[in-house]
Symmetry: C2
Subunit: 150 residues, 2 copies
DNA sequence: TATTGTTATACTCTATAACTATA
DNA sequence: TATAGTTATAGAGTATAACAATA
């Protein structure tokens, strides 16, 4: 296996990054899937639950409970499309946008802590190399692995 | 959040690496926790289930079913310590050692595929940077995140 | 009484399949 | 009949607590 191979380290450090980010999200009383959903809505508001489920690579049924929770909390809204009343378009509320800003701050602090051992040029280099892999593997830009199937 | 921040990309690419490795382990009919346990035993045979659970950062109860499965399969053995018959020392069998070699091959192919977009010097650079982070964060060397708590 | 491992129980998360309402 | 979303059911995985054997 090679204790320190790049792939092994990637899985190891990546899991650590995800876990720590999860912990920090906990301070906002959010789970990674919730944050991923908020982010997906923020990227392109007004889409149906199906469209978002497809982007996130998950089954539409899984969104229901997530949407319920975030709606109860006042972070997002379902709005029925008057032209086709089967569709629920999803939007962030004011509070939801504020929440996204908080997530952004948390992510920033997380990123700084995670790469604290690197200087600026090393951090940029790491980012470049990871981006090359992400593009090669066609990982959807901006879709955090809070959803299992990426 | 910064769509392409180093931390975000790390979680994203790391999750992809873990998932792909999981798929490849499937060819050997192994799960990530099983592979992690085999590896832990291979690193230092003869330890008790408790000692291994502690290294893996998991509850000892979780090992029971894993050890059962791998023992039924003939990959590992429980041996009672005659001096303290409460302890079950764990060892790899011949077949278990062969299985570890297969895992090594699978991991090698996995690593080559994952970093296919990089040349040798870039791969080495990535490895160096990740290792710096792993050391900074005191991630246990050689413990794959098949176990949630790393 | 303390410790190792096991068993039993419950809980979380997710996937799958039926159902409803709209079209 | 087909589609969007919901609800119901079941399954995997894991954590917690009670238990038995040994010290």
């Amino acid at each position: 296996m090679g204790t320190g191979s790049a792939a092994f380290l990637l899985a190891q450090v990546g899991a650590y990054a995800a876990r720590k980010f999860d912990e920090r999200l906990g301070e906002l009383e959010l789970t990674p899937p919730q944050a991923g959903l908020l982010r997906a809505i923020a990227m392109q508001p007004g889409r149906s639950q199906q469209a978002i489920a497809e982007q996130l690579g998950t089954a539409p049924t899984r969104l229901v409970a997530l949407v319920d929770g975030l709606e109860r909390r006042g972070a997002i809204q379902r709005r029925r499309n008057p032209d086709d009343r089967r569709l629920h378009a999803l939007f962030l509320t004011e509070g939801g946008q504020q929440l996204m800003r908080s997530i952004g701050q948390v992510a920033m602090a997380h990123g700084a802590d995670l790469t604290a051992a690197l200087d600026d040029s090393e951090r940029a280099q790491l980012q470049r190399l990871l981006l090359r892999i992400a593009e090669d593997k066609k990982l959807a830009a901006g879709v955090h692995p809070g959803f299992g199937s990426i």
